[in-house]
Each structure stands twice: as structure tokens, then as C-alpha cells.
């Protein structure tokens, strides 16, 4: 197995490489918006991490001990799984913002047109 006990980590590293370049090539500015990223990843880690812990305890799935580090975090979540729930969402958001930057399609998070049209003077500019 390429990577030995780092095999799973290797797959995650390749995913990050596969998507990381989008940040530069498409100016996705996802890492710059780290607060939004953390608020998105947090619930994903909580929800899918909990599912994972249940599945491991209930023997839905398990990991080849020769292909993972054996390091666990929290209540026994393999480190690789925790990283999966962080890295995959980052890659997904990078892809989303790259497609958006390339096509100009709407996502629904654009500034409210009504607020702009009304010229509401109490509405401050979006902070940082």
C-alpha cells in the first residue's frame, strides 16, 4: 500500500492538492474568509463526526490498521476522519467559488437588491 500507515493521509493530501490551486487560479478568496469557513466546517465536523463515531461503534465501517496512523481524537475519532471532515468541505467550497467566479452565477448570498435600491443610509458597508 503506497504510504503505509500514511495511506489515508496521502489520499487527503492529494484532494487538497487537487483543489488548492483553485484559490489562486480563480481568486476564490476562501481562505481569506476564514470566519465563514470555520462556521461552516464546525457544524460539518460535529454532525458527520458524530455519525462517524456511531458507525465505528456499531461496526458499520472500520479502518485497516496498516493504512492509518492509529491516532484518534476526542471520543475515538480517527485523526484521518477528522481531517476528512475539514478537508473535503474546503475542497467543495473552493470548487463552488471557482465555478461562481468563472460563470457569474448567483448563489443567493449576494447583497440584497432591495436594500441597495432603497438607498438605506443607516445600512453600513459590509465590514471587512
Amino acid at each position: 500500500m503506497p504510504g503505509g500507515q500514511g495511506a489515508y493521509l496521502l489520499v487527503l493530501g492529494l484532494c487538497l492538492l487537487g483543489a488548492g490551486w483553485l484559490e489562486y487560479a480563480f481568486r476564490t478568496r476562501v481562505l481569506r474568509r476564514w470566519r465563514r469557513l470555520l462556521l461552516t466546517i464546525g457544524p460539518i465536523v460535529a454532525i458527520f463526526g458524530a455519525w462517524d463515531l456511531y458507525a465505528i461503534a456499531a461496526d458499520h465501517w472500520r479502518f485497516d490498521p496498516l493504512s492509518v496512523t492509529g491516532i484518534t481524537v476526542g471520543a475515538g475519532l480517527p485523526l484521518e476522519e477528522l481531517l476528512f471532515f475539514i478537508i473535503v468541505p474546503i475542497c467543495v467550497i473552493l470548487a463552488f467559488e471557482a465555478v461562481r467566479a468563472d460563470n457569474g452565477w448567483a448563489a443567493g448570498d449576494e447583497a440584497e437588491p432591495a436594500a441597495l435600491a432603497a438607498g438605506d443610509e443607516t445600512e453600513s458597508e459590509n465590514p471587512g
Binding site: V30, R36, H60, F96, R100, N103, A106, D109
Partner: protein, 138 residues
């Protein structure tokens, strides 16, 4: 509680969150489906890399496909497996991808790090690209 059942429950749950709870309605947007089409290709590849060699193994009686608990070889396609991975993984992935993007968009809509917006691309792939966000809802 099988893996299959959990996936069958999770997908409608995330759909309800998108369409009715947070009302991000990403499932109605072209931006979501084009993104997902790209993501699913990489999901199939990385999932194959993890399940084919048996880095991740599944118990046969909690999935529709053949089990791989002892690292047995599994079919590439067929017998409940897609690119070696249990078909349930496709559902798990869909739920995770959709919820990720629903949360990302919802936070932005709430004003968290809405700026700076993405773009313009340094890499020109799309000759039809408009300079401004179109605002069109497809």
C-alpha cells in the same frame, strides 16, 4: 440501524434544510449542480482510493452491497458498489456536500465574510463569462 437507513434519512433531512429551513435553495441553482458534478468525479476517485485497497472496510449486513470487513476484494461496479465504494457513500457524500454549501451560503447571506467575493479568475475558461454577477436564479 444500517448505514443504508441512515443515508436514506439524512438526504431528505438536508434537502429540507436547504429548501425550507435555511431556504438557501441551492438545489434549484445551476451553480450547485455544476459544482456537484465536478465534486462527484473527485469523490468517486478518492472514495475508490480508500475503499478499493480496503483502507476503509464495511460490514456486509449494514450496506446493500458486499461487505469488506476483512479487506476482501470488492467489485468495481455492481453488487451495490460504485468504483469499489458502497453506494451509500454516494448518499453520505451528497448530504455532506449539500450541507457544506448550504451553510457556506447561509453564513454569507447573514453577512459573515460575504466580502471579498471570488473572482475575477486568473484562468480564463469560460468565454461567455459576464463581468458582473448575473443575479439570475438558475
Amino acid at each position: 440501524m444500517s448505514y443504508t437507513l441512515l443515508v436514506v434519512l439524512a438526504i431528505p433531512l438536508v434537502v429540507v434544510v436547504d429548501l425550507f429551513v435555511l431556504r438557501t435553495r441551492l438545489l434549484t441553482r445551476r451553480l450547485f449542480w455544476v459544482t456537484y458534478a465536478i465534486v462527484v468525479v473527485f469523490q468517486l476517485a478518492s472514495n475508490a482510493a480508500l475503499t478499493g485497497p480496503g483502507i476503509v472496510r464495511y460490514r456486509g449486513d449494514v450496506i446493500v452491497g458486499t461487505g469488506s470487513w476483512e479487506g476482501e476484494e470488492v467489485p468495481f461496479l455492481g453488487g451495490g458498489r460504485v468504483f469499489f465504494a458502497p453506494i451509500e457513500d454516494l448518499g453520505f457524500g451528497f448530504a455532506m456536500v449539500l450541507l457544506t454549501l448550504v451553510l457556506w451560503v447561509a453564513w454569507g447571506r447573514a453577512g459573515v465574510d460575504r466580502e471579498p467575493r471570488s473572482g475575477p479568475p486568473r484562468l480564463r475558461l469560460n468565454a461567455r463569462r459576464r463581468e458582473q454577477p448575473s443575479g439570475e436564479r438558475d
